[in-house]
Symmetry: C2
Subunit: 333 residues, 2 copies
C-alpha cells in the first residue's frame, strides 16, 4: 500500500503528502483548498496520494431540494461514528450561485459535527464548468481516501444530470425522496432510477410515505430486469430529524459494499471511473495544447469564420487537429 | 449564401446536398438518417450544408414531463403555418429507453401535422452518450436550416442538465410549466431559470395558473439583475389543447428573435455555439487518435494499473498524451 506508484509523475514526495498520510488534519485541509483553487501543485500531490487510497467506502447521497439530505447525512455520520468509523463529507452544490442561500442553512445544521476530530466536512460550490466540479469532487475524495477516512459521503443537491455526473464518483448511491412527491416520481424515472443503489423515503412520519415507497417499488420492478446487477434496491423509510431508520441505512450501506466486493462490481465501477477520469485528463491536455498552439486570436478568427459561414465547424476542427499534431497532416481528408 | 465555404473538407458537392437545397424532402430525410446512424459520409454533407444555413429561427421547448409540450408544439407549428412559415420539429428524448412508451403517445398526437408538406418532424432518442445526442440534434437542425425551414423547434423532455445541453443549440428557449407545480418551482431555480427566454404556464385553465405565474415572476425578478441580457422574460398563459394563447406565443417568439438581432446577442450566441461545437469535434478527434495509437489492449492495461494503484490517473493521461503527440515528449514533467 505504501509503495510509490510505478509511473508516478515524479519520485519526490512533498512533505504535505507525508503529513496528510499520518493524519494531519491541516495538511488535508490545505490539499483540499489547493484542489478547489485548481493550483498547479495539486496534481503532483494527488498523483502521490492515489497509491494510498482504495480503502474507503464512497457513498453518494442525492435527491430533490427539501428532501432533508443534509439532516440525513448528519445523522448517518453520527451513526457511523458510533460504529468507530472516520467519516468524510463532501457537500457539493452544482446549481447556480444565487440558490446558495438555502444551501447555507443546511451546512450550518451540519456544523454540529464539526467539533468531532473523526469527521471532516467540506462544502464545494460550482464556480466554473460542471466537468470541473465533478473532477474537483473526485480529487477531494481521493485526498480523504488517502487520509484514511472509512466512509466518504458525497452529498449533492437536486436530481438532474449534474448530480448524476457527480455521484458517479461514488460506489453506493443513495437517492432521498419525500412522501407525496407526485409528479416528481416521473422525474425520478428519467435517469435517477438507474443510478440508485438504495432509496430512502425521508420524513416518513408524513402522510403518504407508504404510498411513495410502493410507487418506487413498482417503478423499480419495471426497471429491475434491465439493470445489469442482481442487487435488489432496498427502499428504506427514515425520519432523519429524529434519527429513526438511520441505523438501518448504515446497515444497508455496509451490505451494499459487501455485495459490490463479492460480485466483482466494485472492480467494474473502479474501472469505469478510472476510464472516465483518464479521458477527462486527456481532454484537459487537449485544451491546453490548443491554447498554447493556436492562440486566442487565431482561435477567435476561426470561430468568426464558422459563425459567418465562411468556414464550417468540421473543417475548422480538422485544421486545428492537424496544427496540434492530433491528425497527421499527410492524412488530410 | 450559395458560395461554398472557403475551408470545406472537400470541394465536390454530393448530389444529395444539391437535392436537399432545392427542397427535396426525401433527400432531407436521408441526411437526417445518416446523422442518426452516425454514418461516415454525414460529416462531409453537413460541412457543405453549413454554408447554406443561418436563416432559421431555432426555438427550444423544454419542461417537465406532463407539461403538455408536444400539444403546445403542435399548436405552435399550426400557428406558424398560418403565418406562411415552414416548420421543422426535432423531438428529442434524452431519458432512458424504458420511458419511451409515454413519449410515443406524444409523438402520435403530433402526427396530425405529418401530412403537411411545410412541416418536417423527426424524433430522436438517446442511444449513446448525452454528448452524442446533443451533437446529433445540432446536426439535424443544420440540415433543416439549409433546407430553408423558417422556424426549427427542438422539443426535449424533462428539465435536467441533459435538456439544458440540448436546448443550448436554440436561439430562443421556451420553458413550459403547469399550474401548481409546488416543489418543482424549486427545481426550476436550479439551472432552468437562467436559460429561459420565455415561460409558458400551460393548462392555464386549471386552478393555480395565476399563482404559478406570480411565483415565476418573483423568481425571475430576483434573478433578473444577474442575467447578462436586458430582455424581460415574458410569462405567457396557454391552453395548448384549445389553442388559447398560442398566437401570443408565436408573437413573443418573433419579438425575441428581433431582440436577439438588434442587441447583438444573436452573434454572441452563435459564437458560443460554434466554440462548443468545434471543441466537441476536437474531442472526437482526440478519442479517435487515442483508439488508433494506443489500442484497446494497452488502454485496458493502463486502466487496470490505475485501478490497482500501480499507476495514478495523472501519469497515465500524461503517458498517453505523449504517445499521441499531444504533449511533446521532450517536455516530460
Amino acid at each position: 500500500m505504501s509503495t510509490p506508484p510505478s509511473t508516478s509523475t515524479s519520485t519526490s514526495t512533498p512533505p504535505i503528502v507525508e503529513r496528510l498520510l499520518v493524519g494531519d488534519r491541516r495538511a488535508l485541509a490545505r490539499v483540499v483548498t489547493l484542489v478547489e483553487n485548481n493550483a498547479p501543485e495539486a496534481r503532483h500531490i494527488l498523483a502521490q496520494l492515489h497509491a494510498h487510497g482504495g480503502r474507503a467506502h464512497i457513498v453518494g447521497v442525492t435527491g430533490s431540494p427539501g428532501a432533508g439530505k443534509s439532516t440525513l447525512v448528519t445523522g448517518l455520520a453520527r451513526e457511523l461514528r458510533r460504529r468507530d468509523q472516520r467519516v468524510g463529507i463532501v457537500a457539493v452544490d452544482p446549481t447556480s450561485p444565487f440558490t446558495g442561500g438555502a444551501i447555507l442553512g443546511d451546512r450550518i445544521r451540519m456544523q454540529e459535527l464539526a467539533g468531532d476530530p473523526g469527521v471532516f466536512i467540506r462544502s464545494m460550490a460550482s464556480r466554473g464548468s460542471l466537468g470541473g466540479l465533478a473532477a474537483a469532487t473526485r480529487e477531494v475524495v481521493r485526498a480523504l481516501d488517502a487520509a484514511r477516512y472509512d466512509t466518504i459521503i458525497i452529498e449533492t443537491v437536486g436530481a438532474g444530470q449534474a448530480e448524476v455526473e457527480i455521484v458517479r464518483a461514488a460506489q453506493t448511491v443513495v437517492v432521498v425522496v419525500v412522501p407525496g412527491m407526485g409528479d416528481d416520481i416521473q422525474a425520478i424515472k428519467a435517469g435517477i432510477l438507474e443510478i440508485a443503489d438504495i432509496f430512502v423515503v425521508n420524513k416518513a412520519d408524513r402522510p403518504g410515505a407508504d404510498q411513495t415507497a410502493a410507487e418506487l417499488r413498482m417503478l423499480l420492478s419495471l426497471a429491475e430486469d434491465r439493470r445489469e446487477r442482481p442487487w435488489r434496491v432496498p427502499i428504506l423509510k427514515t425520519v432523519a430529524a429524529s434519527g429513526q431508520g438511520v441505523p438501518e441505512l448504515a446497515d444497508k450501506l455496509a451490505a451494499h459494499r459487501d455485495f459490490l466486493g463479492a460480485s466483482g462490481q466494485l472492480a467494474d465501477r473502479s474501472g469505469r471511473q478510472a476510464r472516465s477520469e483518464v479521458l477527462a485528463l486527456l481532454n484537459q491536455a487537449l485544451l491546453a495544447r490548443v491554447a498554447a498552439t493556436v492562440g486566442a486570436e487565431e482561435w477567435e478568427r476561426l470561430i468568426e469564420d464558422v459563425v459567418a459561414r465562411r468556414a464550417d465547424p468540421y473543417s475548422a476542427a480538422d485544421q486545428i487537429a492537424r496544427r496540434i499534431g492530433l491528425t497527421p497532416s499527410s492524412a488530410a481528408r
